[in-house]
Symmetry: C2
Subunit: 405 residues, 2 copies
């Protein structure tokens, strides 16, 4: 063990967990590049497919990756180390420590969402119990933007940019061939990603005309009425719906139509068109509108190469660096949180927070971001989201000067 | 009427029809900019929502659009004039001529796919019967790439780029969290857009591992066997499926699961996740694989702003210009076809072809582009597609040097 005032020397291990994002490798590469600067860190191991790679000793030597290659990896979507959805059992934890000891690991970094923070927390608590000196840092990522303690989370900005651009185009598509179009957006418990569709409104009358979030109870009849009303007003209707919408009792609308659950007990919401098709059917039936289409954006939202928010990429890299800095500075184990500085200009900073404050539970859209009518966002949300998402393509529209008859 | 050797003077009318694309406004703007150069063309009218706008006299004066605005519109996805899916009846044709005469229109341009070429053809034939002197030109567009006489069609290159990039990212997503992933791609009768997924293969073992096209009969049991085999080989399986796949009798696999048809008698294939979910269910059941997901790319493929093939944008603009040049040069009515010059370098040229040779029937993937096994494409297809689609994002991957145990 390291003596007081003496920096702990040892190897480091890093892994990725949960759903991929477009910038999750920025955090990986940020951590690796930072680690190379600190003499306290000797070997830099990467575990393939999260804690599964530790258990199976499927480890790689990240210190031997070429710099140019690391840079290319940083700019490539999806978890370069592979991912996993696995919550460790107490037996898993014991086995993990055996491996960490075997490989002389004193610095452990886990990039992921709240489930991954929970895994990091469990490993950290077990390490304490066993008296094994280990710095455990969780590095945030999630397209859902649902991590507590964070102003926003790496991964969301780029996914939000995808959603906003998709809606900008689909709005024009819907205007060209009018009808009702429902787009189902990712977000299990938090509506942030669905809400980002509002950034697509660049001209008066632009869609989405309705936005449904998991934070407000979804009522089928009210939904059909809202759509009918908007369709009457605009001659068409573009709708953004979160995959995680729930009824007044909190039951997911999608739940009756899917069976799969992961090891954290979550119902499968993405990778199926069932919810979109269900909602389209409801509109046809209850609002009596003929041309109704539904698309489910699915995994494209989180892994589309080349569609990156600049701020998101920059912050994801910085979050990886920050975790290593905190660990080497002998700060207690924790999670790196992104905070925003007050004021008009967009500036962020990072802070260490206890793992228990990020793990497990998720955060939701604050009420100030949700319109009173329950099917839109507020200007406060737009102000919050716009600098994180960054520049969007310019939309040109004809002036449409009427011809003389 | 114009005398022999005298150029016909009159107004022009242009409209857009069928499904939008990312570059359909390039063709519109190309035609408008070219028309402004020719003194034979006086007023430049645009009809809103295709022939519907003619029938309802919903016309705008495109000559009064500002140049900067036209440029912005050219770079904006989806039909700026609005679109329609409507086949004119003989009564519609009579009504259309009344309007064309009323507005002094002698040049008519219709941007669209084979259905739109058919509409142009019908109008042209009716004009001849009625002795009304009219130059009718069809300007090609379709993400399906299924127009006869064309090497490829404006709209496809950009949609193909979207599909290729989507598969590049989704392949890495599938590698991170292994399982079976089925992506349903647009293409009613032709597999070109689905085939473009093959451009996503940038490293050995990269997906898509299986590609199913409408040109080859789809057998459910063989499909499940193919997936099981690929899953065993790669530990995962990424599948590209055309929405238009049919069984040995020619019945669309999706047909039993959807009811809507448009006025051209086509079954609704996009804007529903039914086919993807159906195929995912088949894999779970017949191949006994747990983690199976399906995404349907839907309308994002044809309207995503900012995702444009350079060649596609350039050629779409040129096709619009070319149509006007041909019409003003007093060529007989026709369609503008894109041909490719032989040789290694990618070069195209345009030719006038008779409307009847493009209208109605569609073209399919040639056998030389389809692998013998029926579930892949050939190198000949890659060579054909790559220059049209253009540059794709660079994918970085870790070298993964195994850690010493």
């Amino acid at each position: 063990m390291a003596k007081k005032n003496e920096k702990m020397t040892g190897n480091m291990l890093i892994a990725q967990s949960g759903g991929p994002t477009v910038v999750i490798n920025q955090s990986l590469v940020g951590a690796v590049l930072e680690a190379k600067k600190h003499k306290e860190i000797k070997k830099i191991y990467g575990a393939l497919h999260g804690i599964k790679g530790i258990l199976e000793e499927d480890l790689i030597d990240l210190g031997r990756e070429r710099a140019a290659n690391l840079e290319a990896v940083a700019n490539t979507p999806s978890s370069a180390l592979g991912s996993v959805r696995k919550k460790p059992t107490p037996e898993d934890c014991r086995a993990i420590f055996e491996k960490l000891q075997k490989y002389g690991v004193r610095y452990f970094f886990y990039i992921g969402g709240n489930d991954s923070a929970e895994t990091t927390h469990i490993i950290n608590e077990e390490a304490k119990k066993m008296g094994y000196e280990l710095r455990c840092f969780h590095i945030p990522k999630t397209v859902d933007n649902d991590l507590r303690e964070n102003d926003h989370t790496p991964g969301w900005g780029s996914a939000a940019k995808f959603v906003a651009q998709a809606f900008m185009g689909d709005d024009l598509d819907n205007a060209a061939l009018p009808g009702v179009k429902v787009n189902v957006v990712m977000g299990r418990h938090a509506g942030f990603l669905t809400a980002a569709s509002a950034l697509a409104r660049t001209y008066p009358g632009a869609g989405p005309h309705l936005i449904y979030l998991p934070e407000r109870p979804f009522d089928v009849q009210r939904f059909a009425d809202d759509v009918a009303k908007a369709y009457k007003k605009y001659g068409r209707c573009l709708v953004a719906v979160s995959e995680g919408i729930v009824d007044a009792k909190g039951t997911p609308i999608a739940a009756a139509y899917t069976k799969e659950v992961d090891s954290h007990g979550n119902v499968q919401l993405s990778g199926t068109g069932a919810l979109g098709d269900l909602l389209a059917g409801m509109i046809r039936e209850k609002a009596n509108i003929g041309r109704v289409r539904a698309d489910t954006f699915g995994y494209l939202q989180r892994s589309f190469p080349g569609l990156v928010s600049e701020a998101d990429a920059r912050e994801a890299l910085a979050a990886g660096r920050e975790a290593v800095k905190l660990a080497v500075a002998q700060q207690p184990s924790g999670s790196v949180a992104i905070r925003r500085k007050p004021g008009k200009a967009y500036r962020v900073f990072f802070e260490r927070v206890d793992l228990s404050r990020v793990a497990k539970e998720t955060r939701h859209m604050p009420a100030a971001f949700i319109a009173r009518n329950g099917h839109d966002v507020t200007q406060a949300f737009i102000d919050y989201a716009a600098p994180i998402v960054g520049k969007l393509p310019k939309i040109g529209r004809l002036q449409r000067v009427a011809a003389k008859k």
